[in-house]
């Protein structure tokens, strides 16, 4: 039985390997990763390009499957899940913040936030109330009816964060969230996510090589050549 309901970890990664094939040549992206993420963590996975940060985040986020090893989310082994069950896990337990925001271009900010709630079956009135409250909380309430192309990068990333936390996920995975932002906007965004972590207890795992992100990590994991070279708590 792979279920460990008693586990207090949100994420547990055991001996994960990921091998890609580049023109038929096997490339080890991850080589035996062991990792746990606890509720309330504000962790940053750092490392140079090609070190496997995004691959690890994708595997934790159930978007990708490991070649070897196991990943547990809330104690459940994701290897045994169907595509439909994985989609449901992503919908209910995980929020994603992408480097390129990845908002739906034809939907307004509010509609983008409401979209994930709609997938969960939240009623329209409640979706709207909560969506507006989130946008207000993130300081972009006045942009609720603007489309992504009418917003700056920082504003779009705030909408993406609102979308990520709209379903009250156990975990938010942020892949290079500041990579496309200027430093001032990046700082404000990181402050916002810290606040959400402190006040609302949302667990964040970042992948980034941005010193500003690394500097705010409560826990820093440095990946090198597909392995965790450093795992330390930062106070």
């Amino acid at each position: 039985m792979d279920t460990e309901k008693s586990s207090s970890n949100i994420v547990r990664v055991e001996g994960v390997r990921k091998v890609y094939h580049d023109n038929g040549v096997p490339v080890d992206a991850l080589r035996g990763i062991n990792l746990t993420v606890s509720p309330g963590d504000f962790s940053v996975i750092a490392g140079p390009s090609g070190s496997g940060k995004t691959t690890l985040l994708n595997i934790v986020g159930t978007l990708d499957k490991p070649t070897e090893g196991k990943v547990f989310l809330d104690g459940e082994d994701i290897a045994s899940k169907t595509r439909r069950q994985l989609a449901d896990i992503r919908l209910r337990k995980i929020g994603f913040v992408f480097q390129a925001y990845n908002l739906n271009p034809v939907l307004s900010a509010l509609e983008n936030v409401e979209f994930t709630m709609m997938l969960r079956g939240v009623e329209a009135a409640e979706r709207k109330r909560k969506g507006l409250a989130l946008l207000e909380e993130l300081g972009i309430g006045e942009l609720a009816h603007k489309r992504p192309n009418e917003m700056s990068g920082g504003q779009q990333q705030r909408v993406a964060i609102a979308r990520a936390i709209s379903n009250d996920p156990r975990l938010v995975l942020a892949d290079e969230p500041t990579a496309n932002l200027d430093s001032e906007t990046a700082v404000r965004l990181l402050e916002l996510m810290e606040r959400l972590n402190h006040h609302d207890g949302i667990t964040f795992v970042f992948s980034s090589h941005d010193p500003q992100v690394i500097g705010r990590a409560h826990r820093l994991l440095i990946l090198k050549d597909g392995q965790i070279a450093t795992d330390k708590i930062v106070q």
Partner: protein, 380 residues
Amino acid sequence: MIGVIALVLTDAISIGMMQQMLTNQIGADAGYIQIHRKGFQTDPSLKNSISNASTVKAAISKDAASCKTSERLRTFGLVSSAYNSSGVSIVGIVPDDEKDVTTIHKYVVKGSYLRDNPDEIIMSTSTADKLRLELGDKVVIMASRVDGSVGSEACRVVGLFETYDSGFDQTHVYIPLTTAQDMLGAPGRISEFVVNPVNPERTETVARRLEADLPAGFEVLTFKQMLPILVMQLRLYDQTIYIFYAIIAIALIFGIVNTMLMAVIERTHELGVDMAIGMSNRRIFRMILTEAFYLGIIGTAAGLAVSLAVYVPLSRSGWDLAMFSESLNSIGAGTIIYPVLKATTLINTIVIIPLAAVAGAVYPALRAVKLQPVETIRMS
């Protein structure tokens, strides 16, 4: 949309044309019901004419209020001028009664309709041309009498007609019934009674009632029995139109496959993000089918709107196809076609087109659900 327009208008014009062929035949000559002596249908000679017309008249009189009737004496004969002769069907009619059951009087283009004066004849312009006749000229008509001898009569041409059907025109001349009976030595004899219910929907009912009331030795035929080929054509068309529906649906399916496949390819990244944030395959599949369904609905609505915009005025004014008059007249359709849009055409279109659109979206939807979110997001 184009498919819907093609389907609706082609169907309406085809049905209109065939119904016209039928109603033209009914209107010009056949009528809705005919009563003959048994055997006349296979051997339409004088020996199969009705001698006891009063029996038939008594049966018909029960429906006098709801039916129009006319009686005819019909035989094959020869019409001759000084220049030429032509074999024709000589039809003796009661001019005023005939007006109530057929429309031949409306087709008179030169001179006048029969006025029940003895020795008058009307014929088609084509027959007159063949015999080199003008209005007022005399012709001789000849036919076998009841006793086997040859009867003849000199008649004056008082009117020329032109119907929708060139074949009919070349083979029919009309004279007063009494003239025909005298010439053929058949006083009181009738070849056929034409009975037209005022409400044509009652044709079968009236025919069955007449059949029951008449003694053995008579046959009661409806237009369906008298014009079996035309009726069969209409029935056959009702079946074959589904082949046309299938062709349109297949063309539409290919169009939708192409459109939706392009939509999926263009939105690969967006669909990947949707999958990443938790949209299930089933929901993505349903979303693409729904989009195709709405495309089908919009296309159907637009197509129907255009079709109706063309159909409504055309159904009133008719579509003048004079340039094809020769071929249209040869099949008895007439040169002005009035399209007829049936409710079944609209219902079939409204059902088939959106369903075909959904069917066409199945393959693109299957392609969409096979997308891997991790790969599609990387595409950004």
